[in-house]
């Protein structure tokens, strides 16, 4: 028996197929992953992502600490109510985890880190925070619901008071607002409009019921994975880990090199790697019918080989797509070894889909 989120009984009631995910009993789908995927692209779906870890970072030096801990620079968040995506690196520039930092108030930030990396993340944060005046607290009292899709904002009206709802409507992407003991951000992992709401667990259960009653479809980890892949978003542990740097993971854009005097963990290693990176991450689209899968070999005649890190069938494009780590000079075409057959694929820059539409 694994860990269960406070919404576990709600998933069972909705007909979820439950699977183990990093020690958590989580819904894989509620009947059809494809239908859930399409519903998010066309209407709205809700995901229980309460298995993820919320960590509040509070104290006089919380900003200084996060500027040292993270490869992106939280000083870019000029005022409370804004969020930033970043990698947390080790000394050799490998990715310990990727996370979102929400700037809630002066000297008060919130991180959401992955569930599979919870223990090592907390240990790392504790170790690195020793010389800073900060306190960090995992928030196990809260559940997280992601409501995503073109109709998500309209559909969440039923779960908030009018005043709160108005404030949510005025949020721009990557902005966040707090009310009572809750926090709502215009962020997500699908490439669609929507919110991620961190709510006291009892409030979250009630919100779940109201959302389903409003026609929002419950969606499992299966659809979450194909949606994020279409959106060109990396999955930690699959697309990058401690042995790969952001530069090799299509995450160079999340590394804040300026100001040059900011010291962050991994900076020296990344700087050394910058001039001589031999691998990068690209998108692949299979030209023929078939499905790309994780770990399939990518062959670039005359250049070398690479590997698919995340591959699947794209329900929106009706084609197989993948993220792959390949030699930097891959060019525009390659082959993927599928059961011994070399199948041609096109090299593209992720994302594949944004706001329900192909961007290829």
């Amino acid at each position: 028996m694994g860990n269960k989120t406070p919404l576990y009984d709600h998933h069972q009631k909705a007909g979820a197929k439950i699977v183990d995910f990093a020690g958590w009993d989580m819904p894989l789908h509620y009947g059809s992953q494809l239908e859930e995927h399409n519903h998010v692209r066309q209407n709205a779906g809700v995901f229980d992502v309460s298995h993820m870890t919320i960590v509040d970072v509070v104290g006089e030096q919380s900003k200084d600490f996060l500027r040292y801990l993270l490869a992106n620079d939280v000083a870019k968040l000029k005022e409370p109510g804004k969020a930033i995506y970043s990698c947390m690196l080790n000394e050799s520039g490998g990715v310990i985890d990727d996370l979102i930092t929400y700037y809630l108030a002066p000297n008060r930030y919130r991180l959401i880190v992955n569930s599979a990396t919870r223990e090592k993340d907390l240990a790392w944060i504790e170790k690195q925070s020793a010389r800073f005046d900060v306190k960090f607290t995992p928030r196990t009292d809260q559940s997280i619901l992601a409501v995503q899709g073109p109709n998500a904002i309209e559909k969440v009206r039923s779960i908030f008071s009018n005043g709160v709802y108005e404030r949510i409507c005025s949020l721009k992407p990557f902005e966040v607002m707090e009310y009572d003991d809750a926090c709502v951000a215009r962020t997500g992992y699908t490439g669609e409009d929507g919110i991620e709401a961190m709510l006291p667990s009892e409030v979250a259960k009630d919100a779940w019921d109201k959302l389903l009653a409003a026609g929002v479809k419950p969606c499992g980890l299966g659809a979450r994975d194909t949606l994020r892949l279409e959106a060109g978003m990396n999955l930690y542990g699959t697309d990058m880990d401690e042995t790969t740097s952001p530069l090799e993971s299509n995450l160079g854009w999340t590394v804040a090199w300026e100001p040059a005097e900011r010291d962050f963990i991994g900076r020296a290693a990344l700087t050394a790697q910058k001039a001589k990176t031999t691998q990068r991450m690209v998108g692949l689209v299979l030209s023929e019918r078939g499905v790309l899968r994780n770990h399939l070999k990518v062959i670039i005649p005359g250049v070398g080989e690479g590997e698919i890190t995340s591959g699947s069938f794209s329900p929106t494009l009706q084609q197989a797509i993948a993220l792959a780590r390949v030699p930097t000079d891959i060019g525009e075409h390659c082959f993927v070894d599928i059961r011994g057959k070399q199948v041609p694929a096109k090299v593209v820059k992720p994302p594949f889909v944004r706001k329900g539409q192909s961007v290829l």
Binding site: Q33, L34, G222, T226, R289, G290, V291, R293, S312, P315
Partner: protein, 127 residues
């Protein structure tokens, strides 16, 4: 548990079914149980007509959003027809595993192989 598997078919432990169409022709496919485990099917790799397969050998590959699964020939024989409809509508394997979602037809070499397959009751008991 789902409803019992159709009585007129024969089954393998690896979740294929075979239907005796005539003296030496069998149609094969995968069971309701197999399709539900696989989830949404998005691609079916069918064999070439004329290919010879031995019982237990891979004859097709079914890819769902989740995984790729080999389909093993329940009996030995030559592929004489494939279900071309699966090229454009692979989801027939989900919606109609015993009828419109059939995979291919084999010309049997040895009818005794068919007789050795499981009856519906035995197959269902093993699920």
């Amino acid at each position: 548990m789902t409803s019992p598997s159709p009585n007129h078919l024969k089954y393998t432990a690896s979740h294929e079914w075979a239907n005796e169409e005539s003296a030496d022709i069998v149609t094969i496919g995968i069971t309701e149980h197999a399709q539900s485990l696989l989830g949404d099917v998005v691609f079916v790799e069918l064999p070439e007509v004329g290919k010879n397969v031995a019982a237990g050998e891979g004859v097709a590959v079914i890819e769902s959003v989740k995984a790729a699964a080999d389909v093993y020939a329940p009996v030995s024989g030559e592929v004489v027809e494939v279900n071309d409809a699966l090229t454009s509508t692979p989801e027939l394997v989900n919606s109609s595993p015993y009828e419109n979602g059939w995979l291919c037809k084999l010309k049997m070499e040895n009818k005794e192989e068919l007789d050795k397959l499981m009856l519906a009751e035995a197959y269902d008991a093993g699920l």
